[in-house]
Amino acid sequence: MQILEAIRENKLLLSGSILILVFIALAVLAPFITLYDPNDVKVEIRLLPPGEQHLMGTDGFGRDIFSRIIYGTRYSLFLALAVVSVNLLLGLMIGSIAGYFGGMIDELIMRTVDVLLAFPNIILALCIVGVLGPSIPNLLVALVALGWVGYTRISRGLVLSIKEQGFIGAAKALGGSNMYIIVRHIIPNAFPSLLVLATLHVGHTILSIAALSFLGLGVQAPTPEWGAMLSEGKQFIFTYPHVMIFPGVAITFSVLSFNLFGEGLRDILDPRAREVLNV
């Protein structure tokens, strides 16, 4: 109930949630909304402008762009959510260990993080995708390999500040094992702040997936993924711009919905921001 109340009060959260729900609905109900098979090649009707038959026109192979965008929702949403959750969990665990134990373990983990941060993302993506071949699971691996460091760094910082608080000392004094303290006290306390970050990161991940697909390192044709659609449509940019405009708009709105949601969540969960709101 409290959540619903909060959502109703915060307009950002409200609009974000509505948009996200719409996207989820589109993903689930895709077969009922679209009139055409997203992969049905009909070169006779290629590159039709938006019209009554084809709401957003057809692409270079006569496939219905509207259907492809609706089906594409599934890939972008699913992938982005999967990547962010894995990153969040991995980063939280490694970061907690680093922050809690300190010393050599901390040093080792943080230097690894430094190396990965100084490392050009694209090499890593290229190697993983190059060695394993471009596919959805491999794309996931690449994005996790790139993404976990950010969460690790932030959770370590959070853990360092939580560690200093009285109740950790109390738990230690009561004889709690290290693992117990990390799992029961540190992680639950660090989680809310990270959740806000993760929500904002979903949008960012959708953009990364699209960018990788655009560079040809992501999802394979003819999968109706938005980045791949843009990459395919790029050749028509000056002649048939509608092929590029709609997938871009779809990406923008899906990212925006998560950004609105995350921003709203931050207003509620971040105490300082709340204080500001109440002024």
Partner: protein
């Protein structure tokens, strides 16, 4: 305290603004070098995908070769005016052109030619066959081989392998193992100015031995993105695009738009076909009938019409028939006959027994994967078209695009079922029927192509004897076998598209994809 902060803010603001101004000024300063055109000077501005020094095509404007090759594969004189080949094909005597000078004034004669030849031989495939190089007189170069090496003149006609450089062009100067650092040659243009990744300015070589260029200057502007090139052409920032790449860099879809905008568009065929290569050593394509069936299942006419607006010609032979040793006399050509295709597949045992629309045999559905190297021109479009054609005869084709280095790696190991690429063309032996090339079992790059003992025998016979009329006959036999076996699906002729503004006249396509003939071009 307040005062200090004020000062600090001011410093930051000033610093920011000055940084901005500096970077903008840095931008302005660069405008000065946009090839300052003297009044009345005729400048031809080319839009190029690659940086000037990275492209072989550009080098050929400055540095020439001993021999050239024409459209069909006959050799034509360049710096060697004529040449004699001994009966056994082991000795070549080149009669060098007289009165030619390199751009730096060094004379082109037997001794500089010998240097250039030795420099080439260090890196060229024919290098290891050479026994000795002699200069009987000032304008004769004699090359003796250990054994007959058939593609020698072809190698010599390649601008990449065999540029005739002068001793001062390499670093350290005069060393046959030197690195080419200065672009000094004998060609119709001299390199005046070069900026990495930006542009190169070439000026006419007034002492050129051949027909002198009509334009005073050629500016090679590097514009990697083909769409940006098109906009630049329409906006008049460049005069001509598409000519500087051997492949067709102008997307075919843009051609109608270019024509509508009043741009001249020329297409030339160089016999480079886009083909789908079967892995002939693995199921299901180790079966001749299956390969023939798939060849009949693709409606190439419709493909080129729908995808490319009829710009390219559909291909019905493995390589262009008009090449000197091309498949001009083959009986079995490929067409479109889906019924025949289904029949052939049925004969090979592929039938739809479970009614799912996909053929099967021994409980296995007919599914295979097409490997596409990323960036292969038009490959994505073609792949999706072929995919839908395959579906019509009950064959499921999946697509796998790999980053090109990785894709070629797989093809070299034979780890593919079907692979899309383009056929060999000049200046290598067109169609891949040379020794060690695609259809020869000794090929290390194509272990999964169609190979057979009889084919090997014919190939060896054709390319180990200098007798050309016998070679033509043997090649005809080779082509008959290959077309019978259907080792690949040739799709269409990848024509080279050149587009230019109406201030340009006198364009003539070069003899091979790598050659540009700019001499006749006039700019208004």
């Amino acid at each position: 305290m307040q005062l200090r902060m004020k000062g600090y803010l001011r410093t930051v603001t000033i610093a920011l603004i000055s940084l901005f101004l500096i970077s903008v000024a840095a931008g302005c300063a660069k405008t000065g070098d946009q090839a300052p055109a003297t009044k009345g000077e005729k400048v031809l501005r080319l839009g190029a995908v690659k940086d000037f020094k990275e492209a072989t095509e550009g080098k050929s404007l400055i540095i020439e070769r001993f021999v050239g090759v024409d459209h069909e594969g006959n050799f034509v004189p360049q710096l060697a005016e004529s040449w004699d080949i001994s009966e056994d094909g082991k000795t070549y005597t080149f009669h060098l052109r007289q009165g030619v000078e390199f751009h730096n004034g060094t004379a082109f004669n037997a001794s500089t030619a010998k240097f250039a030849f030795e420099w080439i031989a260090k890196k060229a495939p024919f290098g290891s066959y050479i026994q000795k190089i002699e200069t009987p007189d000032d304008f004769t170069l004699k090359v003796c081989f250990n054994e007959y090496y058939a593609p020698f003149l072809l190698d010599l006609a390649s601008g990449w392998t065999s540029p005739v450089v002068c001793p001062e062009a390499v670093e350290p100067a005069g060393s046959v193992e030197g690195k080419l650092t200065n672009f000094i040659g004998t060609g119709p243009f001299k390199l005046e100015n070069y900026e990495k990744d930006k542009q190169a300015v070439l000026v006419r070589n007034d002492g050129y031995w051949g027909s002198k260029p009509k334009a005073d200057k050629v500016v090679w502007k590097t514009i990697p993105d083909p769409h940006a090139q098109i906009v630049a052409l329409k906006a008049g920032e460049v005069d001509m695009i598409g000519i500087t790449e051997h492949h067709s860099s102008i997307p075919y879809v843009e051609v109608p738009g270019l024509k509508k905008a009043g741009i001249q568009v020329d297409t030339t065929t160089y016999g480079r076909y886009q083909v789908l290569e079967f892995n002939c050593h693995k199921e299901p394509f180790n079966h001749q009938k299956v390969r023939q069936a798939l060849n009949l299942a693709v409606d190439r006419e419709k493909m080129v019409k729908e995808l490319f607006g009829g710009l390219a010609e559909p291909a019905n032979t493995i390589t262009a028939p008009w090449f000197k040793f091309g498949p001009s006399n083959v009986e079995q050509k490929y067409g479109y006959d889906p019924e025949k295709a289904k029949q052939l597949l049925a004969e090979a045992g592929w039938k739809d027994t479970d009614g799912d629309g996909i053929l099967d045999k021994n409980g296995q559905p007919f599914t295979f994967e097409l490997l596409i190297p990323a960036g292969e021109a038009n490959a994505d479009a073609v792949a999706i078209f072929v995919q839908s054609e395959m579906k019509k005869i009950g064959v499921e084709m999946k697509l796998l695009t790999l980053e090109s280095g990785a894709a070629w790696d797989r093809s070299k190991k034979g780890e593919y079922e079907m692979f899309v690429h383009h056929s060999f063309c000049l200046p290598s032996i067109p169609g891949g029927i040379g020794i060690g090339q695609k259809y020869h079992s000794g090929s290390k790059s194509w272990p999964a192509a169609y190979h057979a003992q009889e084919l090997d025998r014919l190939i060896k016979k054709a390319w180990t004897s200098p007798d050309e009329s016998q070679r033509k006959q043997l090649c005809d036999e080779i082509w008959d076998i290959l077309h019978e076996q259907a080792p690949c699906i040739p799709l269409y002729d990848i024509v080279k598209v050149v587009a230019y503004r109406d201030n340009v006249s006198g364009f003539k396509p070069g003899p091979t994809m790598f050659d540009m003939e700019l001499q006749g071009i006039e700019v208004k």
